[in-house]
Amino acid sequence: MPQKISLRIDGELIHTAAGQSILDAAKAHNKFIPALCHMKGLSSVGACRLCIVEVAGVGRLLPACTTPVQDGMSVTTQSDKLRRYRRIALELLFAERNHVCAVCVSNGFCELQGLAKRLGVTNVRYPYTYPKVPIDLTHPRYTADQNRCILCSRCVRVCAEVEGAHVWEISGRGVGSRLVCELNRSWGESTNCTSCGKCVQSCPTGAIAEKGFAVEEMSKRTDPISRLATLRAAGSDNKPGVIL
């Protein structure tokens, strides 16, 4: 039995297993902390910076997904500064690509859209970039539309850590970063893809979706994948996941 520690989240005393991340501990005690690039069962990469929280005695804001809980820690998940910074992070995401929710297959199911609604984002103050990004429809059953991609790398991790095919990766650097299938091949010609669809279910937005769904129809479920990944991790000699 993992050793128990106690900490405060927004003032409330919580007892939880040591070694857990603040995000997992908060989720387990239904304390809401926004997160986009985190998915239970996959390695945590701390890319989206939405889950930043204030920890008493620590000067910097810490990402809840990768910061382990410590005994006697006091975490603040809601504050004016955190709300402002989270809102800026979301607005930057909307401004980076072409997120046209009205005609998106994931309209109504998208985690980015949901968070924007929950955190009260009414507009994007930053100028849109309108980049020209690839759309790949070569796979018989799935589509990859990078206009909706937020580079959270959940697809990369689920394909590498759970399916083991490592079809997806992020190429380039900075704002030039793009999702790429193997050696920049089209998805249809992929040699390693098993068409298992885990990346489709893991993608928080409409970037990777299944053909045959119209606007506002692409609902997804990540729980089965998370359960599979946690089962497999418990069974295996818990070799450290591929840290990206």
């Binding site: 701390g46 990402p63 980076e96 930053y126 650097r173 900075g174 840290i243």
Partner: protein, 1051 residues
């Protein structure tokens, strides 16, 4: 190479090395770092090699690293047995025969000597070269090296990096031997902790604690890594350390490996340093051959090996987790911490990473102990740091200073001040993660904490000096452009945040920025700093936040006035020369019109941009020359003299009347508004001219009987003949400007009267009051202030001038007084308290004064005026000064010595500066700055009293004619905008069709200079001292223009 396994084999190699370092015959060592080679050291080496063997001389020739003084490269060390080591500077191949001749005859070549070294403390060892050569300064007496303390650079430029035995000769690998013999790793860690050594990569984390962490980590595989990625632009100290002394790095890492229990060490060197990679690999090879790497090191049973990996061009890989991912064959994207590399690093094994320079401090700490180490530097940051001092500073190079040394020591003492005498504006420390520190804060000590408080960081040690030609908004944009292109793209604040920050900075530098942009950029920068995953993102906003904090006025200039004073942001100016001209004359246009032989149109273009082209053509201090891009080819276009030629060609000609009426005809319909201008000096005339052209009724008041202000009553005729000025005033009169002379405001007309009669009042009284010198004896007869003297001469009034005159001061007024006194038959001496380069006067005028017989005494301050029994001046005593500390104006403060010098003279002219006579302003309720000048809004020039504006010397203090006129022009524009509430300024100016193609090949002719009447003859008359350009020279000068105003494609 012999394998070293015990003390005796150690000493054999040491002897071999010493015999190379201090041979029994001359030895020449060429500084062959990459920068040395870039400066031509390769050809110098071959010149020596060929000369030595063709002449069969018994001399050793060797390569060495770099001693750090890049500006003086190529450097050559010359050693003669028994004599001090001499370092020659800027050696060229054709100097080689001379050097060899001296050496062959046993003499030390002193011609190119930079400095000598009699003995040198390598810290791990000591070397004595010899004594003597008194005429050559010691190395620490050379300004660049004064105050430097070489711990990290102890061997650089003194030993041959390719010979391990020379390194061992100066005590190399002794520290390793001692550590292996003591066999007590904890003691070494305690020593490093006690020395409070902090990471030299930039973060400044305690090295000892980091090492202890790894030592305690339990794992059969542990790695230590040297981070030599050095991606900071403007920083190259790691390169020089590796290229000049690779073995110190190797020794430091072997000690680290032993102490932390690591089996393998990795050197991650950036691919842009090929020579460093090559020398490091060969040094590793030699160390392996000597048994210092691999199995059973020094016979003590310790196994450790080193491997070099070349980076592949990614600045982010300087961050430790990104470096580790890069070594694991992945893209260099940082990963969250915890887990820290010390518990979960390379391939999951505990790993310790330190910057190159940190490893260089290990051997000295082991040999000399922590106590000795903490004697240098400050309490919290002991030891030294190597800085790469570059940018707009004379002595560029690597400077190793104790931590805590103030910034001004770097910039002025070591750096030797700004290049081309330009005023220094700021220093950027810490590369793209650092910040810009303004010149007023150069007293700040350079260490981790103090720089942190200013919003900057020490970082890798890059120190880029910037002067008035650098635009700080462009600097912020440059750094964000760099970090934006180097962002790994993993986390949102850095990837997208920097992209948007760059968007806003681009808009501001293009003159499209708004106040909202400024606020959004400020807010966004804080978000990026506070939420980014790794150091790159967290520090990337520093340049923006510091420039916004310390140079906010520059941002406001760009946003509110679309003005870039430094002339860097090309979109905000027609061309660099137009931008630097206070009147923003369209210089390329009148040059092109003249080139197309359209003299009359050129005249109209010039007069409309500058109503006094002939006067300014003679006396302006021509800031345009400093910005002319032709200096990149040969030398600046002589723009001032060309618009003087154009004006001089038309004014006396019969075309003047026609053109004057053409210009008057351009006047806009009468607006019914009445404006008053108080002061008919250049500022007032400019404002009156433009207000009149905009259709307002303009009345100019002046206490003198004629218009021109200082142009008429202060500038002597030989500089500006009165008939030229009269012509210019006549043209202005013809546009409709009215004058009321002999009327002194407020005595004859009060401000309230003006308030009642006029819709707007512009105050341009100028600085007529001589600032008084508190000196014993100023009450004696024969002591006269400069301006009243010049005014009396211009009004042909009698002047009580003696035969021997002394002028005190170094500005234009001083030089004018001196040359005027010469013309009136006196013998003149000028006393100035600083040096020639500090004199505010225009250089050509000072030289002309000397040519006419004036004697200038520098570095002397008046002490006492000695009077005779009749109360008349007999002599003046001055105190010799020497230049001391640098003051906040960036100039050295003259400190009095005790040496008094005495000059016999019968007249003393005080020309130490003019101030504004402001009694009337105080009475009328105008707000005054504590400097005594009128306070105005920076952009509209409106004073604290509505309807009242002010400009020129009245608000800036004594400056120069074009600067003052610029304010007059700007005031006219704002007054019209306020009165008519519509933008119509551009409509006043004519447009011209002229060739818009830049010259395929600008004329090769060099710059034409104005001909001066020969000194003896001109010193006796007040006739004009300079003759304007001849027509063919003016035409050719116009053809030299590169037409920077033409852009390929729209911008």
């Amino acid at each position: 190479m012999k394998r070293i396994s015990d003390l005796s084999s150690f000493n054999d190699v040491r002897e071999a090395g010493l015999s190379k370092l201090l041979p029994d015959r001359p030895r020449i060592a060429i500084g062959m770092g990459t920068c040395g080679t870039g400066n031509g050291a390769e050809s110098v080496y071959h010149a020596f090699a060929d000369a030595i063997n063709t002449r069969g001389l018994g001399m050793n020739l060797a390569r060495t690293g770099c001693f750090g003084f890049c500006a003086a490269e190529p450097l050559v060390n010359v050693y003669l047995p028994g004599k001090p080591l001499v370092i020659l500077q800027r050696v060229q191949p054709n100097d080689v025969p001379g050097i060899l001749d001296d050496l062959a005859s046993g003499r030390m070549p002193t011609g190119l000597a930079l400095c000598k070294i009699e003995e040198w403390d390598h810290i791990t060892g000591h070397v004595r070269f010899g004594v003597g050569l008194p005429e050559i300064p010691h190395w620490h007496e050379v300004p660049f090296f004064t105050g430097q303390k070489k711990i990290v650079l102890r061997n650089c430029g003194l030993i041959n990096p390719n010979e391990i035995d020379e390194y061992i000769a100066i005590g190399g690998y002794q520290a390793l031997y001692k550590v292996l013999i003591d066999n007590n790793p904890d003691m070494v860690i305690e020593a490093v902790k006690a020395a409070k050594l902090r990471g030299r990569g930039g973060a400044g984390y305690q090295t000892g604690i980091k090492w202890e962490f790894l030592r305690k980590a339990q794992s059969e595989r542990k790695y230590i890594i040297c981070n030599a990625d050095e991606g900071d632009p403007g920083a190259y100290m790691n390169r020089n350390e590796i290229e000049s002394d690779p073995h110190s790095l190797i020794e430091g890492m072997i000690i680290g490996g032993y102490v932390m229990g690591a089996t393998e060490g990795i050197l991650y060197v950036r691919a842009e340093y090929p020579l460093a990679v090559h020398r490091l690999n060969s040094a590793i090879e030699q160390a392996r051959e000597c048994g210092l790497l691999g199995d059973n090191i020094l016979g003590r049973g310790f196994r450790f090996d080193l491997q070099l990996v070349e980076g592949a061009g990614a600045f982010v890989c300087g961050e430790e987790t990104a470096l580790i991912r890069s070594l694991e064959g992945k893209a260099g994207r940082p990963t969250p911490r915890p887990p820290y590399p010390a518990e979960h690093g390379l391939y999951g094994c505990p790993t310790n990473i330190n910057n190159v320079e940190t490893w260089y401090n290990i051997a000295p700490i082991v040999i000399k102990g922590p106590g000795w180490f903490t004697e240098t530097g400050s309490a919290k940051s002991p030891g030294t740091k190597v800085f790469s001092l570059v940018g707009k500073v004379n002595n560029t190079g690597l400077v190793e200073m104790p931590l805590g040394t103030p910034l001004k020591t770097f910039v002025y003492d070591v750096g030797g001040g700004g290049t081309h005498g330009r005023a220094i504006k700021a220093v950027q420390t810490g590369g793209p993660s650092g910040g810009c520190i303004p010149q007023e804060m150069f007293d700040t000590p350079v260490d981790y904490e103090s720089l942190g408080q200013l919003g900057s960081i020490m970082g890798s040690g890059g120190m880029v000096v910037m002067d008035e030609d650098n635009c700080m908004v462009d600097v912020a944009r440059y750094f964000i452009e760099f970090t934006h292109s180097e962002s790994c793209g993993k986390c949102i604040p850095c990837r997208v945040g920097l992209d948007k920050s760059l968007y806003y900075l681009n808009r501001i530098t293009q003159g499209k920025g708004t106040e909202a942009d400024f606020d959004l950029l400020d807010d966004l920068s804080r978000m990026i700093r506070d939420t980014s995953l790794c150091g790159l993102g967290q520090t990337a906003p520093n340049p923006v936040l510091t420039t916004m904090r310390h140079f906010r006025h520059e941002f406001e200039d760009h946003i509110r006035a679309a003005r870039c004073r430094a002339g860097v942001c090309e979109d905000l100016a027609l061309s660099p020369c137009e931008n630097s001209c206070p009147l923003h004359m369209n210089i390329p246009r009148f040059l092109q019109l003249l080139k197309e032989d359209r003299l009359e149109e050129a005249f109209v273009s010039v007069v409309m941009d500058n109503p006094l082209p002939a006067s300014t053509g003679r006396v302006c201090q021509h800031p345009c020359d400093n910005r002319c891009r032709r200096t990149g080819v040969d030398s600046a276009v002589n723009m001032r003299e060309v618009h003087r030629y154009i004006a001089d060609a038309i004014y006396p000609s019969d075309r003047f009347d026609a053109l004057a009426s053409d210009i008057a005809a351009r006047r806009k319909p009468l607006t019914g508004k009445r404006c008053a201008v108080v002061g008919a000096g250049p500022t007032g005339l400019a404002c009156a001219f433009y207000l009149c052209m905009l259709g307002h009724e303009v009345m100019v008041y002046d206490s003198n009987p004629a218009a021109g202000g200082m142009l008429r009553y202060a500038l002597p005729d030989y500089r500006l003949p009165k008939d030229v000025l009269d012509r210019e005033v006549e043209l202005i009169r013809r546009t409709g400007v009215q004058f009321t002379f002999n009327t002194q405001v407020p005595r004859d007309v009060s401000l309230n009267d003006l308030d009642g009669q006029y819709d707007a009042v512009f105050l341009s009284i100028g600085t007529w009051k001589e600032s008084w010198v508190y000196l014993p004896g100023t009450e004696l007869t024969g002591v006269i202030p400069a301006l009243p003297f010049l005014e009396a001469v211009s009004k042909e009034q009698p002047v009580p001038l003696g035969k021997r005159v002394t002028v005190i001061g170094g500005g234009n007024a001083a030089i004018d007084s001196a040359r005027t006194a010469l013309r009136l038959g006196s013998k003149v001496t000028i006393i100035y308290r600083r040096e020639r380069k500090d004199m505010p006067a225009i250089p050509e005028e000072t030289e002309a004064a000397e040519a006419e017989g004036a004697e200038i005494v520098f570095l002397a301050t008046p002490h006492r005026i000695v009077g005779g029994p009749d109360g008349r001046v007999q002599a003046i005593e001055a105190v010799r000064t020497k230049l001391g500390e640098y003051d906040s104006s960036g100039r050295r403060r003259p400190m009095p010595t005790n040496e008094i010098i005495r000059f016999a003279c019968d007249t003393v002219i005080l020309a130490v500066g003019e101030t504004v006579d402001l009694d009337f302003a105080k009475a009328s309720g105008l707000k005054i700055k504590e400097s005594g000048l009128i306070e105005v809004d920076r952009y509209t020039l409106e004073t604290s009293r509505s309807k009242f504006y002010a400009g020129g010397d009245l608000i800036t203090g004594a400056s120069n004619v074009s600067n003052a006129m610029g304010y007059g022009k700007k005031a006219a524009r704002n007054i019209d905008r306020r009165l008519m509430n519509v933008r119509r300024w551009e409509e006043v100016f004519p447009s011209f069709e002229y060739d818009q193609a830049p010259p395929a090949h600008a004329s090769e002719a060099p710059r034409h200079h104005v001909e001066e009447v020969d000194a003896a003859q001109r010193a006796t008359t007040f006739a004009e001292a300079t003759i304007g350009l001849a027509p063919v020279d003016a035409m050719e000068e116009a053809c030299r223009c590169l037409r920077c105003d033409v852009r390929n494609g729209d911008h």
